[in-house]
């Protein structure tokens, strides 16, 4: 049995998952999926910034398009150190496909026009 705090929404439900993988304490369906993932392969959305050539800003915020295995977090962040991109870029643009074989794309989270 394991106690977890759900991170899917600000509600932060106190979840319990027992040895038969039965989840309790969740207010919605997201909590069940989160608890099951959390004990097999915990996943997180990674957010960071990369260098951008632009007249407006020096960093472009980015995120993985979906939660990726927690084990890959530091690998991805290290990889981003050497990435540079040029404006214009639109919020949602894919910057790197299947980043570090995580299965997720790296996407821009801000529009930078120039």
């Amino acid at each position: 049995m394991k106690n977890l705090t759900c991170i899917e929404c600000p509600r932060g439900c106190n979840l319990t998952i027992d040895d038969n993988l039965k989840v309790t304490g969740n207010f919605c369906i997201r909590g069940q999926k989160y608890a099951l993932d959390e004990i097999s392969n915990p996943k997180r959305v990674v957010t960071s910034t990369i260098k951008i050539k632009s007249l407006e800003v020096v960093r472009l915020p980015v995120k993985t398009s979906m939660p990726i295995s927690k084990k890959l977090m530091f690998t991805i962040l290290k990889y981003l150190d050497n990435i540079q991109i040029e404006a214009p870029i639109k919020c949602g643009d894919v910057i790197i496909k299947n980043i570090c074989d995580s299965g997720a794309n790296l996407i821009a989270t801000r529009t930078i026009l120039k």
Partner: protein, 415 residues
């Protein structure tokens, strides 16, 4: 003199939603004045996800959330002044602002929406003891340096205060290669959202020292050591419980205060939240001047800022069109266990269907009831398993529940 139907001061989450709402409710001559070089406000530096679950049913990052509103501006007549700072407002809604391109300007507004956000409490505000060394920063400033400018402010970090920005920065700095040695919180409970304790501290084995505070900061010119100490229920040091950490940075996440210098100068009635006293349409004590978002009271979720600002934008549009009625105000009172309630007063004639009351509790509660009362009559009673001061509560009441209401109070009933 240029005249606008509504001038929105601040182009962050509250200002954007307020301006768009005023536009959607029929106003055309709208101006947003923003001091920064881009719209979006603090959302631009909040690059983590977790925004938008209530408004968009998605987990967006801060910049993405802001972008949704910025993109909507394109098809409107809303004007924007960036890099512009409002220095003064007169009671007749004359606005004085300046910027590099236009110099000093004076404009007129039929209505004004204050959406100026909040500021961080500083080392001085919490009477932090010790030398004024470099390497002591507020969490939001460290966040700006890292996410906007690209500078990591330290390699070995201690965090004082368990507010959400501090927790977010603990994770963010860890991911960028810093070692976060711990977070101290003077209260016996955390002041951040539960999910942030889980995903920002527990994920990285960062210890949280509850009932602890920083007793001393040591160093020559720059921070070298932080000494924390346990405190008793009166927040006095328990001597002998000191722990010393070798660090180069102390981050403070010790609370936010609504930023209202212009409103205060104007003589608007202020409340205990350090924001203005407002009514059901978020109108302040001066007719036609509205306030919303973190400038009114500090929110923990941007989604609620958006909803509040939309109501303020609707209120301003009604005011300009002459649709706001001058009825009798009913005051909302915070009683046992409730720190504050917003709005502080309401006029039944101006409520369409329902009104939302937002409030915070004074301390953590378990298995209690929230009682909403009109004198001795209970309007609503809601059971709650957990209530935390860090989590804003909201309750909506519809017009039928408020029928013949003469007063309104919210309190916590313990068994």
């Amino acid at each position: 003199m240029q005249e606008y139907e509504v001038v929105v001061i601040g182009g962050g989450s509250a200002g954007l939603a307020a301006a768009l709402s005023a536009y959607e409710n029929g106003l055309n001559k709208i101006l947003i004045i923003e001091k920064n070089s881009s719209l979006g406000g603090i959302l631009n530096q909040c690059i983590h996800t977790g925004f938008g679950i209530h408004v968009f049913n998605e987990q967006l990052s801060g910049p993405e959330y802001a972008q949704r509103f910025i993109d909507k501006l394109d098809n409107t007549s809303i004007e924007i002044k960036l890099n512009s700072y409002v220095t003064k407002i007169d009671k007749d809604k004359t606005i004085y602002y300046s910027n590099d391109a236009e110099g000093f300007q004076v404009i007129k507004a039929k209505s004004i929406i204050m959406a100026t956000g909040c500021i961080e409490r500083t080392p001085g505000a919490i009477k932090l003891e010790g030398e004024r060394l470099s390497g002591i920063l507020t969490a939001g400033l460290a966040q700006r340096y890292l996410n906007i400018e690209g500078y990591l402010v330290g390699k070995k970090v201690f965090i004082l205060g368990s507010g959400d920005i501090g927790l977010i920065m603990a994770r963010r700095m860890t991911l960028e290669g810093a070692k976060v040695l711990g977070v101290a919180e003077i209260m016996p409970y955390s002041n951040g959202l539960r999910r942030n304790i889980a995903q920002c501290l527990e994920d990285f084995n960062i210890p949280l020292y509850l009932s602890h505070t920083v007793k001393e900061v040591k160093g020559k010119d720059h921070v070298e050591q932080v000494v924390i100490c346990q405190v008793d229920e009166n927040k006095n040091y328990i001597l002998g419980s000191e722990k010393t950490f070798d660090v180069d940075t102390l981050i403070l996440s010790v609370g936010l205060l609504p930023y209202n210098n212009v409103l205060e100068d104007l003589g608007v009635q202020m409340s205990s939240t350090k924001g203005a006293v407002v009514d059901e349409n978020y109108q302040t004590s001066i007719e036609g001047i509205f306030a919303c978002g973190n400038a009114l009271h500090v929110h923990d979720l941007v989604d609620y800022v958006t909803k509040e600002a939309m109501q303020a934008g609707l209120g301003a549009s009604r005011y300009v069109k002459g649709l706001l009625k001058h009825g009798k105000y009913i005051e909302t009172k915070n009683k046992n266990g409730i720190n504050y309630v917003v709005p502080q007063k309401f006029c039944l004639q101006n409520i369409d269907k329902e009104i939302m009351f937002k409030f915070r509790v004074t301390k953590p509660f378990q298995n209690v009831k929230i009682l909403i009362q009109d004198g001795d009559r209970t309007i609503k009673s809601i059971k709650k398993m957990f209530l935390l001061p860090s989590e804003m509560e909201n309750i909506s009441l519809n017009l039928s529940e408020l029928k013949d209401c003469k007063s309104l109070s919210i309190e916590i009933m313990e068994d």
